[in-house]
Amino acid sequence: MSTPQHQEVDAHTGTATTGHEWDGIRELNTPLPKWWLYILYATIVWSFGYFIVYPSWPLLASHTPGVLGWTSRGAVTADLQSLQVQRAPMLSALDAASFTDIAKDEKLRGFAIAQGRAAFGDNCAPCHGSGGGGSPSFPNLNDDDWLWGATVEDIRQTIAYGVRSGHEQTRVGAPMPAFGQTGMLKPAEISQVSDHVRAMAGLPTEKGYDAALGEKLFSEQCSSCHGDTGKGNIELGAPNLTDKIWLFGSDKASIADGVNRGRGSIMPAWTGRLDDTTIKALAIYVHGLGGGK
């Protein structure tokens, strides 16, 4: 708090100047109250409190820890723990309730969907897409075509134990054999049966398609799983070949490729990786995407 050395009185206002001058413009001195300055000093002193209380100075290998022992990681952990405590009652209610009860309880259902959406983003989105839209060979979970059943319990079971996952309770069904590679069907027959599949779905066929031959080959080789009319079989995970939904594509080359090399997609079992409540929430979320029955 010094008194300026050179002060001059401004002729126009009669106010003393601070002695600061820039290109002929002089700064008038309007004194601040002293307490204002003391507050500045107080804030400087206050800042030393931070050095003592919080981590502040870098050291060679680490930093000064601060007497509170505060860390940003610790703060996040505490936040997460308090969140878990907050969610605990709803989680245990979700755990205890049956699917029928949850469907009736709007609050519980909303909670399950929120939990399920988060878990879906973390675990399922890499294959099925963030909104469950799917991609070739990874089913779209929004549509009404389900290989393994569309009830919420069916969905829960598929999520929990997977498809051909190696888990003892997994869904296995009947993986599609590689008819071409194993020599069960010759290339010309594969062409015929592929055209026949397209014909069953109401899609145009190529020249040279012999309906009688196609039907014969289909009933010999395919109908045991896909059914005589190609409607599929949920017990075996055999898709309906007559609808408009094609997991691997509806063009003849894709169908022929499936017949030639076989199909047998795998979905991992999530039990053990995710807890039962999360799997339950996931099932409710996926069921509610639009395809659930």
Binding site: H6, L32, P33, K34, G129, D143, I245, G288
Partner: protein
């Protein structure tokens, strides 16, 4: 500039130099009590404003069984603001914009009409300082006694009055903080909870904060808040003009100053003599410690107490009152030049403009409040996947729709979609009655539902405009939300 020139200039500066520190000690103000018109007006405003502040939370307003019955309530927990018949949701916070425009224009208008009306009569800083000064006067005496007390030794009497004053200040400050928190919760219940120490910690913390700020700002900081901390004196200094009424020392009448006897002698001798007898009563009563005779200044809050003080003195010495009065610059200047002062004009382009803006914004707000919809709908289209092909080849789009029920009772909305031929609507997890798709929504709540719209593939284009309509099944009120129906490119 050469070194030599610089040195000579510095020498010249220091020769003329004065001692003026960059930081000044506060000159403590000891305002003297005063009687008069403006003092009475200020007491009345003080009682009215403090009465509103302390008692308003207890005013009840019946909104039925599903909503709080407090007339003015900021319900942070449920994100609602209640003001008598008005209820505001967070997304309607834009009403505050209108309120702020009206508030600032009212400040401007007051300033253009009669100077710092806000600072002098209405500002909380002024009102609580006035209240604290009253306590100070009641416990420690008037200006002269307080000055003597503070410059003298610590006697038992001084200690006792000191303790009593601070106790009363803290009580007022405590009540001020206590009333504040009542605006955020049901007042009678919170008072009971506070008394039995069952209130939430945040209530005690806020009471503590406001107790301390009131105590320090009204007890210690006082006029320094106005001079150093508040931006409004600066703004109003730029807004005022020579046509606006301000608390003014009429120097045309007051100068030259002289004692009563000297002035009489001068008048008899036919020499000029002002009415100001330099008794400094105007300065003594001033709560900010300014001398109004120096003219308009930033420290002056224009409370009018110097008018009362001066009028009392003028009555005693038998001179006409109004040496200090509400007057305009142009009138004082005209009289000083011996001209007839122009009459004060309240209707000037500036005041008309401010009043017009207040009227227009006010009308818009009243219209908006009167036509406020009590039903609302908003829709978000699913981003992934944008559409789904179903087994039969039809196309389905999914939407997240939020329905708003701003009525104070539960309602049932039907939801339908228009603008798409052959469209079927389905709400996941909602009942489907004979009247269509019905959604129950609780009192004063929103509800989010997942809506699926399905349409045959051949009847549609890649992107069609659709509209969702929510209708209250009983009142028939409805709300609409625009969106799109998206499908594969038409081949």
């Amino acid at each position: 500039m050469s070194v030599k020139q610089e040195q000579s200039r510095e020498a010249a500066l220091s020769a003329k130099g004065v001692e003026s520190p960059l930081y000044a000690e506060r000159q403590k103000v000891y305002p003297q009590s005063v009687q008069g018109t403006f003092r009475r007006l200020r007491w009345a405003i003080l009682c009215a404003t403090l009465g509103v502040y302390y008692l308003l939370p207890f005013v009840r307003w019946d909104r039925g069984p599903h909503a709080p019955s407090q007339a003015v309530l900021i319900d942070m927990e449920h994100r609602r603001f209640y003001f008598f018949f008005i209820e505001i949701w967070p997304q309607e916070f834009y009403y505050l914009t209108g309120l702020l425009i009206i508030a600032s224009m009212t400040l401007f208008l007051m300033n253009a009409v009669a100077g710092r009306v806000w600072c002098g009569y209405l500002c909380p800083q002024t009102i609580w300082t006035d209240l604290f000064l009253l306590i100070e006067r009641l416990t420690q005496g008037d200006r002269r006694e307080r000055m003597q007390l503070e410059s003298g030794p610590w006697t038992l009497r001084r200690a006792r009055s000191f303790l009593l004053k601070h106790f009363l200040w803290l009580m007022v400050a405590w009540w001020t903080g206590g009333a504040w928190v009542l605006y955020f919760s049901d007042a009678p219940k919170l008072v009971a909870d506070l008394a039995t120490f069952n209130a939430p910690a945040i209530a005690y913390i806020w009471i503590g904060i406001l107790t301390l700020t009131t105590y320090f700002f009204a007890g210690y900081m006082r006029e320094q808040v106005c001079t150093y901390m508040c931006p409004w004196p600066r703004i109003q200094a730029a807004l005022t003009d020579e046509h606006a009424l301000n608390v003014t020392y009429r120097y045309d009448r007051g100068e030259p100053r002289a004692s009563v006897k000297k002035a009489e002698a001068s008048r008899l001798a036919g020499e000029p003599a002002g009415d100001c007898i330099d008794c400094r009563q105007c300065f003594n009563v001033c709560p900010t410690g300014v001398d109004i005779r120096d003219g308009l200044q930033i420290d002056c809050i224009q409370c009018g107490l110097c008018i009362d003080a001066c009028d009392n003195v003028m009555a005693k010495i038998g001179r006409p009152s109004g040496l200090i009065a509400y007057d305009t610059d142009e009138r004082v200047k005209a009289r000083a030049c011996g001209q007839t002062p122009p009459t004060y004009q309240i209707l000037r382009p500036r005041t008309i403009l401010y009043a017009a803006i207040i009227a227009i914004v006010g009308a818009i707000m009243i219209y908006a409040l009167a036509t406020r919809s009590l039903i609302g709908i908003s829709a978000i289209h699913d981003r992934n996947p944008v559409f789904v092909t179903l087994s039969d080849g039809s196309i389905r789009n999914a939407y997240t729709i939020r329905l708003l029920n701003k009525e104070l009772h539960p309602r049932k909305f039907s939801v339908e979609v228009t603008g798409l031929e052959g469209a079927l609507l389905e709400i996941v997890g909602a009942e489907q009655g004979a009247e269509g798709h019905l959604v129950d929504i609780g009192t004063d709540q929103t509800r989010e539902v997942r809506v699926l719209v399905t349409a045959p593939r051949n009847s549609r284009h890649a992107r069609e405009d659709i509209e969702f309509i929510a209708t209250d099944t009983i009142s028939g009120q409805s709300a609409r939300a625009k969106d799109h129906f998206i499908g594969p490119e038409k081949r």
